[in-house]
């Protein structure tokens, strides 16, 4: 039998070597210098970061066995460090391929740029960028950069000088199939909300309100509850609060088009039922009223979104849109507390948590209201006035398949902003896509395939307009008048 100490050292070397190979293989997918395919800048920075972290990890592993403790009985506990580092790299491994798949041709680049520009007008976020990842699930997902930062920070204890994760870079996963879509990708605004929530540490701010809400609902039961049950309830309420915050943040950031994308992605028109006096039906077990451990019920989320739209005075403009999506929003207002339930009937304190969440909701709205301010402390413009001014004109362009980068109104040429373009386009999509199709021979608005083609066309026209906008507002001589951009006087220039 080999000497015990020698065997220990040898196996430490082998285990470190195996981990070295794994880290090396992950880093090979990190395409910081790739020219083809090309990547947006934030993705390049992410790859560069992974590469540097990989180099630092490999350097550390090269000396791992040599730096072992002198007492063999400690080897076991020293060795387990490798396992922790390995699983830390599992976390990075998840994201590298997802980022590599999302090259510039496969991300909704113009929309992400437009939303990022809008976010940069919020105080404290003027340098923010986002790397986009492709995920398998048909959902949107913000990868908490704090989790990556936290893991790296903790690596710092073993790996000398690990690189710092770019502080202003957020990471958003989108469904791989939706890279060329526009409307569904409005949900990216919600994921940006997660970045904001995390960066401003809003959970800490909401925790006292969560405690008060639970105490109010549970009364004496609060003291009698087990620590684990209270911990679980706190986690539920924190997670629900974050999701609700992100919804409201998205609504303020991009307006009602967010709500319509939400309804479409999650199929919420199924709640509508003309056979009911109320016009909708929430049947037992229907998913739209069910809270999960991580998310509040869809209909409560919509209800809160409508409250914010009313507060921002968007609601009358929305009500005039002739679409059953608007009926879903209206119906959500009539769903009462007793309709909501938790996924698992036997889960401890679930009903108390839902009731507590009702008490907590106004505080979430307050948190959104507090942060939606520009660098001068002025409330962030919802762009409602711009929508009112340009919505009809934009519609006239789109219905003729003309890119509405510049619209002519009151004898002037104007450049409508991105948020106005997105909402006006969504309105046309919901209300009168057939008007666009009627102008073209052999197109049948009753055929899903035809409608789908023209939806894509409408998305492409709108995408081009928001892409143009970022350039047009930098045109020499273009003027901002009352918050609206007017084209330069080209005749005078000639």
């Amino acid at each position: 039998m080999p000497d015990r100490t020698k065997l220990g050292v040898e196996t430490l070397e082998r285990d470190a070597s195996a981990l070295f190979s794994f880290v090396d293989s992950v880093c090979q997918f990190s395409l910081a210098d790739s020219e083809s395919p090309a990547y947006p800048e934030p993705s390049k920075r992410f790859f560069e970061y992974i590469k540097q972290l990989g180099d630092a990890t490999k350097e550390y592993l090269s000396g791992f066995a040599a730096k072992r403790p002198s007492k063999p009985e400690l080897y076991q506990y020293y060795r387990q460090r490798l396992e922790t580092i390995r699983l830390g790299w599992f976390e990075f491994h998840l994201h590298v391929k997802a980022a590599a798949d999302a090259d510039t041709l496969n991300v909704p680049y113009a929309l992400v740029e437009a939303l990022t520009t809008r976010l940069r007008s919020v105080s404290g976020f003027d340098k923010t960028t986002f790397a986009i990842f492709h995920i398998d699930e048909l959902n949107y997902w913000e990868i908490p950069s704090s989790a990556i930062k936290e893991t790296t920070d903790k690596f710092k204890r073993y790996i000398p000088q690990p690189p710092r994760f770019p502080a202003n870079t957020g990471m958003i996963g989108i469904p791989y199939s939706q890279s060329s879509s526009l409307y569904l990708n409005f949900l990216i605004a919600h994921e940006m909300g997660h970045f904001v929530f995390e960066k401003l540490q809003l959970k800490d701010r909401l925790l006292p309100h969560i405690e008060t809400a639970l105490k109010t609902v549970m009364k004496k039961g609060f003291e009698a509850a087990s620590d684990e049950d209270l911990q679980l309830s706190k986690d539920r309420l924190s997670a629900w609060a974050e999701e609700m915050f992100c919804d409201l943040f998205a609504v303020w950031l991009i307006g009602p088009c967010y709500c319509f994308a939400y309804i479409e992605l999650f199929g919420l028109t199924t709640i509508l039922d003309d056979a009911q006096p109320s016009g909708f039906s929430v049947t037992a077990g229907a998913g739209s009223t069910i809270f999960t451990p991580s998310h509040p019920a869809d209909l409560l989320r919509l209800k809160q979104q409508v409250l914010l739209l009313q507060k921002l005075r968007w609601w009358p403009a929305i009500e005039s849109i002739k679409s059953h999506y608007v009926s879903v929003l209206s119906s959500s207002q009539n769903v009462q507390r007793e309709s909501f339930g938790y996924r698992d009937n036997d889960a401890p304190l679930a009903e108390e948590a839902i009731s507590g969440f009702m008490i907590l909701s106004p505080h979430i709205l307050n948190a959104v209201t507090d942060i939606m301010k520009d660098a001068n402390g002025k409330k962030l413009d919802s762009r409602l006035n711009s929508y009112r001014k340009f919505n009809d004109e934009i519609g006239k362009y789109l219905v003729r398949a003309v890119v509405p980068s510049t619209v002519f109104l009151d004898g002037q040429h104007w450049y409508p902003d991105e948020i106005t373009l997105l909402n006006a386009s969504t309105r046309l999509y919901l209300e009168s896509l057939e008007n666009l199709m009627e102008g073209v021979e052999e197109q049948n608005p009753h055929l899903p395939s035809h409608r789908s083609n023209w939806t894509k066309r409408l998305e492409a026209l709108t995408t081009k307009a928001i892409e143009d906008h970022s350039l047009l507002v930098r045109e020499r001589g273009a003027e901002s008048i009352g918050g609206y951009f007017k084209r330069a006087n080209l005749q005078a220039a000639e």
């Binding site: 002198s70 009985e73 699983l87 903790k154 996963g173 405690e211 620590d227 684990e228 986690d235």
Partner: protein, 134 residues
């Protein structure tokens, strides 16, 4: 993997990494008897977090979590699963003794070794929950 699952899994990783932080500081002490500057801080953070696992008033406090032993339900649950309350209390006592540093060094090292075993069990369990299953 869904975002929900990923989020929960990352809580286990955070727990494992924090347990490892304390283990590493203790390994040096047990091996050489040397008290490196980060030893006292790591042990105090571990003490605060392990105490918080059983104190209700701390659950809603944003400041309390120096280490990820008690921030989320999954972390609290993992610590509870690994050791019953009595053993946790014994470890808290040993942590206090090592922090104080007034006992003989070899006695402190024995206590420190017990703490390593305790934290290693938590780390190992957290890694197990974090690890994807084939």
């Amino acid at each position: 993997m869904s975002p929900e699952t990923s989020q929960v899994r990352s809580r286990y990783l955070a727990l494992a990494l924090d347990a490892r932080k304390v283990i590493d500081a203790l390994i040096v002490f047990v091996d050489t008897g040397e008290r490196k500057p980060d030893l006292a801080r790591s042990l105090k953070e571990a003490l605060v977090s392990l105490k918080a696992v059983k104190e209700k008033k701390e659950i809603f406090s944003p400041q309390r979590n120096k280490l990820a032993f008690s921030e989320y339900y999954e972390q609290v649950r993992t610590v509870h699963e690994a050791f019953p309350t009595t053993e946790r209390e014994q470890i808290v006592g040993k942590l206090q003794k090592v922090i104080k540093g007034s006992a003989k060094v070899d006695e402190q090292q024995r206590d420190a070794f017990d703490i390593i075993k305790f934290l290693s069990a938590i780390e190992s369990r957290a890694l197990y929950y974090y690890r994807p299953q084939p």
